[in-house]
Subunit: 142 residues, 2 copies
Amino acid sequence: MKISTKGRYALRVMIDLAEHSGENYIPLRDIVARQEISQKYLEGIMTDLTKSDLLDAQHGKGGGYKLKRDAEDITAWDVLVSTEGDLAPITCLDKSAEPCIRAAECKTLPMWENFYKVIRDYFSGITIAGLMNKDSGDNYVI
Amino acid sequence: MKISTKGRYALRVMIDLAEHSGENYIPLRDIVARQEISQKYLEGIMTDLTKSDLLDAQHGKGGGYKLKRDAEDITAWDVLVSTEGDLAPITCLDKSAEPCIRAAECKTLPMWENFYKVIRDYFSGITIAGLMNKDSGDNYVI
DNA sequence: CTTTAACCTATCAACTTGGTAGGTTAGTAT
DNA sequence: ATACTAACCTACCAAGTTGATAGGTTAAAG
């Protein structure tokens, strides 16, 4: 029951890109220098984010990455799903899961389904822009 | 980001015990027959629940397990923490974690801390008695 | 046609998950 | 006493995940 480094790094990268956004593409090298994350490891994460249409990538000199949408229009949910995959709290609720044979009699299924919704609602309510502007001392009230 | 079978099985066992509660201890054999879970695997889960003071265990003939408190006074949170360990959504928030060096500047930490609270509040609001009485068709509104 | 930077594939050690196997301890009944 | 029962304890194992690293390939700009 953990969000892995992939998801956490991805959020840091997205915030970093939002903070340094402009016309130009930002090469991974710059992000790595600021965030102190292994470049090779980040490469895979960037690919996830690009394939999910959250980032624009550009090869070659002057290339790099930039946000594909405004930071206000990208949620933490978008980023986490992109890198962590399905955020279903139990395997039964995975999109790829075959339907559970005891679903009809399962006393806990509604609890899990609703929990899934709680998770989705929570992260869908948080945008990259929102994270960007937070001072570390701030506390959320949701 | 998944609750493992340990936590899910534990909840099923607790509900089963609540449904068959009375004066007597219920041997694991009976639970296994009803729930169709590997007895050997369940043994470890029962030990967790017993050590967390959620179950009373009795050796020998006529022995077995029973709930140590009323089903109304045991929450899903109690059960999940007992079997899954710390339910912190990121390692930084684990009780056993060494304090993170970038905590002060971390833009996402408040989001994670609050998410932890959301999880805790959700499962703390659900009791074994509540799960027991649910018809499968029911939906939660929290 | 060289430089730059994204992209792709393979590999790896450490850890977790979901079990299984076999033996030991504690309590009950005859 | 001693047989029986049922919890408890330790060790092991295959498969999958995590958090990387290594090295090469493709695409774009100058």
